[in-house]
């Protein structure tokens, strides 16, 4: 509880963080919270879900409970005050059962900051993970909140994965080796992070267009969630091959050309790390 109190004044006395105060890659860890028998009883009463799986003596705390706890722990981090206009979405996965007596803490990573079209606010997407005392992920997902902006921008693009602005910055950071490795290639490379995808149209070693979609579509697309991209660009070394081997990156499209571009993709990730 001490940790919460130290972190909280920010949101009690001022507006809390505005959109520009968030940076992709920032990580926060909350104080621990233990699930009590009262929690179980209260939640069962509130929801009316008395299925033995959820309400029995060894009951698993039902779905929304974990999200509610995560949101409460998030407030304890002292980041959000009146500048927050509202929660936009929650995508959630359940990895391990959560029961009375378990102690969890919230690990939160900012994975995307995107200004709204109107420009006076921005959407901050946070990867949120409830972790138990053994360090295991119990539940995880993402939530997005709309936050007031302090000014009109512009905003940094180095970690705006999958956007055209990010793609353009990445291309500018590619080394000559990239062109050499694709000297005979003609195609388009799709890079996707969450719902955002950008295509690098390549002809004979030169990137001739960076666009949301190449005219004939990408030859192949490499894709991962925003957390994976965030971890990829903030790791001490280029971990792309490890991530791909362990399934954290996926691929759609022409698998043959994807393999052929093994070296080129490694260089793209080098550039992405360089601009991050």
């Amino acid at each position: 509880m001490t940790t919460e109190q130290v972190l909280r004044p920010d949101t009690r006395t001022g507006p809390g963080r505005r959109f520009e105060d968030f940076t992709v890659g920032e990580r926060f860890t909350s104080a621990p919270r233990t699930v009590t028998a009262t929690d179980l009883a209260d939640f069962t009463r509130l929801s009316g879900d008395d299925h033995p799986l959820h309400a029995g003596p060894d009951g698993i705390l039902q779905g929304p409970f974990g999200i509610a706890v995560a949101m409460g722990l998030l407030q304890g981090l002292g980041l959000h005050g009146p500048a927050v206009r509202g929660l936009l979405d929650t995508h959630w996965s359940y990895r391990l059962p959560l029961r009375v007596g378990d102690t969890v803490r919230l690990e939160m990573t900012v994975v995307r900051c995107r200004r709204t079209g109107k420009g006076d606010g921005g959407v901050v997407t946070r990867h949120m993970r409830l972790v138990d005392e053994q360090g295991r992920t119990v539940q995880e997902g993402t939530t997005s909140a709309l936050v007031d902006a302090a000014g009109p921008g512009p905003d940094p693009v180095g970690r705006a994965f999958g956007t055209v602005a990010w793609g353009e910055a990445l291309v500018a950071a590619l080394t000559p080796e990239f062109g050499e490795s694709l000297a005979t290639w003609d195609g388009a490379i799709g890079l996707r992070a969450g719902e955002h995808e950008v295509s690098l149209r390549v002809y004979r070693g030169k990137v001739i267009e960076v666009a949301g979609r190449a005219a004939l579509g990408p030859t192949f697309t490499v894709e991962a969630d925003e957390l994976t991209w965030t971890e990829l660009v903030t790791a001490p070394t280029n971990e792309f091959t490890r991530f791909a081997m362990s399934g954290r990156f996926g691929m759609r499209g022409n698998g043959y050309e994807y393999l052929r571009l093994t070296r080129a993709l490694h260089l793209i990730v080098d550039a992405a790390r360089g601009i991050a």
Partner: protein, 273 residues
């Protein structure tokens, strides 16, 4: 160093003895990984010999300086195990220890299953009894017949870097990965077909020699759980998980000869007990 006829073709074999090339010392047979060669043991072999062992490092058929297997690239690790027994006979190795890594580790386990009584003990590294069918045999066979399978050397290089342990200095990891580019893809792929199709699960209970299974915690190809399960199925076997180490302990660990000599001493004391 010599060439010797094994399995109908010439095999290249390094021999390191306490007094140089020679027959003195307790024999240790060292087996390399898929597609590679005895060069993986270049630091370990002479240092282990200096500790009093007779170290024998063959290049498996089709690898390094050995001639190809007469029947074409080997896709059955049991064939390699039979080849090793023929080598043990030809060199007159009496109750050798066998140490292998990756496919070499699985060949080592196979040797323990089929000829425990002839071995002093085995150290099987980066191996399990059954892969669960991953990688898929179908994919490997397709790549075998598709000669244009792209970027092979880059995939070997980057794939090796990805499975070397995080505690290994960057320079050493770079050297390991660069040297692994030297492979015959037809042979490597055949080795991997052998790796993914060889199922020793029902035979582990028959192992009667001391056995030690070793796996690196950072080995993305061989999860520790599978190696632990294999060790649990072998009577009296021990299992070690190496923190910060990946798929190639003998190349990754500085002074590995000392580590290995310790393990062999433990296996030897089990025989005495």
């Amino acid at each position: 160093m010599r060439y010797i006829g094994i399995g109908g073709a010439l095999a290249f074999v390094e021999e390191h003895g306490p007094g140089g090339d020679g027959a003195a010392g307790v024999p240790v047979l060292c087996l390399h990984t898929a597609g590679q060669s005895g060069v993986q043991w270049r630091h370990v072999a002479p240092a282990l010999a200096a500790r009093g062992f007779r170290v024998v490092v063959p290049d498996l058929p089709g690898h390094g300086r050995s001639e190809p297997a007469p029947g074409g690239p080997v896709t059955d690790l049991g064939d390699y195990a039979a080849w090793c027994l023929e080598l043990i006979d030809a060199l007159g190795l009496e109750r050798p220890y066998v140490v292998g890594c990756s496919i070499g580790g699985k060949i080592t386990l196979d040797l323990a299953c089929r000829a425990s009584e002839r071995l002093a003990g085995v150290v099987a590294m980066a191996a399990n009894a059954w892969t669960g069918g991953t990688p898929s045999e179908r994919g490997l066979r397709r790549e075998l017949s598709d000669v244009a399978a792209p970027s092979r050397t880059d995939r070997t290089y980057l794939g090796t870097l990805a499975v070397v342990g995080r505690s290994v200095p960057a320079e050493r990891a770079e050297l390991i990965a660069t040297m692994h580019r030297r492979e015959d893809p037809a042979v490597s792929n055949s080795d991997l077909i052998g790796w993914t199709t060889h199922d020793l699960r029902d035979r582990l209970g028959s192992v009667a020699c001391p056995a030690h299974l070793v796996v690196g915690a950072d080995d993305l190809w061989v999860p520790a759980a599978g190696t632990r399960a294999a060790a649990a199925a072998i009577p009296g076997a021990r299992c070690t998980v190496l923190d910060g180490i990946g798929h190639y302990p003998m190349e990754e660990i500085e002074g590995f000869d000392g580590v290995l000599a310790g393990w062999l001493a433990e296996l030897g004391s089990e025989v005495a007990a």
